[in-house]
């Protein structure tokens, strides 16, 4: 059956018969890679331009339409040695890119103005204590106004807009006092300059904007980086479906291009690409990633199947159902809606600080004015002093205190393979006191592992090499152990039964018990609930090879470390009790519940919440998505289903569980530093406000205090980096190139198994390979 790949969804057509596509590329790590990819693609006929963005690990390519197809480009990349997958550019990403550039432009303008105004301000400060004439001083003030007024109007836009939005919604954020402070400082300075006064605050206003824009830009850039990276990972999973068109021909299309009503063919061992109803075929599907159940479910014509489950022995023709028509997904969506609505979003630390800060400072300013009037000062002096209070307390340090820590913590987590989905997750994750784990794919590895303990290595190798010729999901687990990567010549797969081949002149069979001629009553069968067995027969010898879910390699020490930190651990699983008990007991978790539906998982979490527990939910299945949304904070392994990933606060990469522990440690540290920073800001104000109230705050003092406190909180934020991955538990993923190479054969072997872990294209790649 001829098979074509349809990538048209990803191609943007230009006017003059050109086409453009963007691809996420995996495994790019050095200068050589850039050259290899760009030069390799440039040699293809019709390619106009290929440019790899190394920072984003994305390749953008233009070619003359018709001379070469998109699939040829992907194939060429694969031939050069890079796994790549095109993705449809999202509008949100283009918006982010524009927003980032805009912030950078604002930052540049503010920086330019701050530097040049300082040139004039320092002259005025030194002139005021020496022999500067008032004419020169006025000239310098007017020049400052000339620079700062347009610069502040332009560079302050991010704050003015945000403040306006908050005020319109009758809310208060940090940008409101910032906007008030900057506007008053500028207005006062203009008035004072007009009246030939000795002091003006132009430099303070623009310096404040510059510092705040630095924080704002870094925050945004960090967020964008993690978002781009998560986008690459999702795209590199490269999920394809085999769509049957009207004539019955088979077309390979990306899963995202499937529409309700399409008919897709799901071969044995492939992942079901979308929710749907079986039109034809009989098989058993492994729904581990959907429900947590590890035993395959038998399905027949008319049965519903869910995206993400893995097809077992038989080929299925599935009719894609309209979104929300599947019963389980429907239920999950409904619960999600409820969970999100019920979630009382905790007020962020920064907003809480803003709510306290603004009234206190504005009252202090008012009291200052009244105090000076009572003391007999002129109205002018009273108002000038009151505004000086506002300027000097302008929340430079407070507004930087939290974003600075967030940026450093997000970067620290990113380097350890933990991708934050949203910024305030740091605060919420730091507050948790209970960790709820899902079992399948979370405590255990997403892929089953062969348990060949005590078997002859030669026999296992033979079976594994034979398994290379099979598409069955269990065989894929076995095939990963094969040292010799080329399949036996002449190996034949009988769908639904097994594979056979001639090895050393004797027939070898691998597959079901019956296929290998083993009677179901033979010893060693069915005494183990948690394992599925593959039978192997070669010559006269037979063997049963158990394939089971295995714990993540560091699950036991990580769980022990979590307990040692005083956290309560609970396992909530959708799997059978027989499968959950050994896992929970092996880890020493006494509080475990099995056979739960998504609704029951939420109920369990709600119950914990009603006891004032703050729950961190760690889960990967579709059935976990509502629980993730309902919990105080949530984490998902990168192998989780799309819907689940979308509702997790953070994703972690790799085979290890250590990122859970590390995330908790980093976020706790980060929250402690946020509080410290706020305290530092309060201490600063405790000194600065009395000085300003006494009318002694000169622009020089304001400038020194403002930059001093900003630098102090920023340096303090860097101390998040002190938290290093726990060496005794092994580094939390940091999947370098070696680990990536190790994963690659597995990925190549079973490209459609959802568990294939896309590589974490590490940040700090060591040298050329």
């Amino acid at each position: 059956m001829a098979e074509t790949i349809d990538l048209s969804k990803f191609i943007e057509r230009g006017e003059a018969g050109t086409a453009h596509m963007t691809l996420a590329v995996d495994g790019v790590g050095c200068a050589g890679c850039i050259r290899k990819i760009e030069n390799g693609l440039a040699k293809l006929p019709g390619v106009i331009d290929a440019r790899l963005n190394f920072t984003q690990r994305r390749l953008s390519i233009d070619w003359r339409d018709g001379e070469i197809g998109a699939s040829d480009i992907v194939a060429k990349l694969e031939a050069i040695g890079y796994h790549a997958h095109p993705f449809a550019p999202e509008r949100a990403d283009a918006d982010d890119s524009r927003q980032e550039k805009w912030l950078l432009r604002c930052l540049a303008v503010a920086g330019f103005a701050a530097m040049n105004v300082m040139l004039l301000s320092v002259s005025v400060w030194s002139g005021n204590v020496s022999d500067m004439t008032f004419v020169t001083r006025d000239l310098f003030h007017w020049l400052s106004a000339l620079i700062v007024l347009p610069a502040a109007a332009y560079a302050g836009q991010p704050f003015y807009q945000s403040a306006w939005r908050a005020v319109r919604n009758r809310a208060l954020n940090m940008d409101v006092p910032i906007t008030i402070g900057v506007s008053l400082a500028l207005a006062l300075s203009l008035y004072e300059t007009e009246n030939h006064a000795a002091e003006a605050y132009f430099d303070s206003a623009i310096m404040l904007l510059f510092f705040l824009l630095c924080g704002r830009y870094l925050d945004f850039a960090m967020r964008r980086k993690t978002k781009l990276f998560a986008g690459n990972l999702a795209s590199l999973k490269g999920e394809f479906a085999h769509r049957l068109d009207a004539t019955g021909a088979l077309v390979r299309v990306p899963v995202s291009a499937l529409a309700p009503g399409d008919r897709v063919l799901v071969r044995p061992g492939e992942m079901v690409p979308a929710d749907g109803v079986i039109l034809d075929g009989t098989s058993a599907v492994d729904e581990g990633v959907v429900t947590g159940e590890t035993l395959p479910r038998s399905v027949d014509t008319g049965a519903a199947v869910y995206a993400g489950s893995v097809n077992g022995g038989g080929a299925l023709t599935v009719k894609v159902a309209a979104a929300g028509a599947g019963t389980l997904v429907d239920e999950v969506e409904r619960l999600l809606g409820k969970a999100i609505a019920a979630k009382s979003r905790s007020v962020r630390l920064a907003d809480r600080a803003a709510r306290l800060y603004a009234p206190v400072v504005h009252t202090a300013a008012a009291l200052t004015a009244i105090g000076w009037l009572i003391a007999g000062a002129s109205l002018h002096t009273a108002i000038v002093t009151a505004i000086a209070v506002l300027i000097i307390t302008c929340p430079c340090a407070i507004a930087l205190a939290i974003p600075a820590v967030q940026v450093v913590a997000a970067g620290q987590l990113f380097r350890a393979g933990i991708i934050l989905n949203n910024g305030d997750a740091i605060e919420r994750m730091a507050e948790i006191d209970t960790v709820v784990f899902d079992k399948t794919g979370t405590l255990t590895l997403p892929d089953p592992v062969v348990d060949a303990l005590g078997m002859s290595p030669a026999l296992v190798e033979r079976a594994a090499r034979l398994a290379l010729s099979s598409r069955h999901p269990l065989a894929a687990a076995l095939a990963r152990r094969a040292c010799e990567r080329n399949p036996y010549p002449g190996a034949l797969e009988e769908p639904g039964r097994g594979v056979r081949a001639l090895i050393d002149g004797e027939e070898a069979r691998l597959g079901s018990l019956a296929f290998c001629g083993i009677s179901p009553g033979a010893p060693g069968i069915a005494d183990d609930d948690a394992a599925s067995c593959i039978a192997f027969a070669h010559g006269g010898r037979t063997a049963l090879i158990p394939v089971r879910q295995s714990l993540r390699p560091d699950a036991i020490p990580v769980v022990a470390a979590l307990v040692a930190r005083g956290l309560d651990l609970i396992v909530l699983s959708g799997d059978r009790p027989q499968a959950v008990r050994p896992v929970a007991q092996g880890l020493g978790i006494t509080d475990w519940h099995a056979g739960l539906t998504p609704a029951e998982k939420i109920t369990a979490i709600e119950r914990l919440k009603s006891r004032n527990r703050r729950v961190l939910m760690v889960g990967d299945g579709l059935n976990d998505a509502p629980a993730l949304a309902a919990a105080h904070a949530s984490l998902s392994p990168i192998t989780a289903t799309h819907l689940t990933q979308a509702h997790a606060d953070a994703l972690f990469l790799g085979e290890r569980l250590a990122p859970v522990l590390y995330a908790i440690r980093v976020t706790r540290r980060a929250r402690a530093l946020m509080r410290q920073n706020l305290a530092l800001a309060v201490i600063y104000n405790a000194f600065a406000v009395p000085i300003a109230m006494a009318g002694m705050a000169t622009p020089l003092i304001a400038a020194a205090a403002m930059s001093g406190s900003s630098i102090l909180v920023t340096l303090n934020a860097l101390r998040v980096r002190v938290v290093t991955p726990d060496k005794t538990l092994g580094a939390p993923v940091r999947a370098g190139r070696d680990e990536v190479e190790e994963l690659r054969p597995a990925v190549a072997q079973a490209p459609l198994v959802p568990a294939a872990i896309p590589a974490f294209a590490g940040h700090d790649h060591e040298g050329p390979p």
Binding site: N53, F54, K101, L104, R105, A108, V109, F112, I147
Partner: protein, 58 residues
């Protein structure tokens, strides 16, 4: 103090030139791929081979 008449505009002009340079660099996409730019300088395939041999032997 007459020196200010040309020193101050000169200082501002220098600053504005820097700002304009930055904005131009931003607009022409030079901040799109900072890590890549650092690496792209390493391959020397733009140097002709004979030239390279001469350098190595010299």
């Amino acid at each position: 103090m007459n020196v200010l008449i040309y020193l101050v505009p000169l200082a501002l002009l220098l600053g504005l030139t820097g700002l304009a340079g930055f904005l131009w660099a931003l607009k022409s996409g030079q901040y799109e791929d900072l890590d890549g730019a650092a690496l792209r300088i390493l391959p020397d395939d733009d140097v002709a081979e004979t030239q390279q041999v001469r350098q190595n032997s010299g």
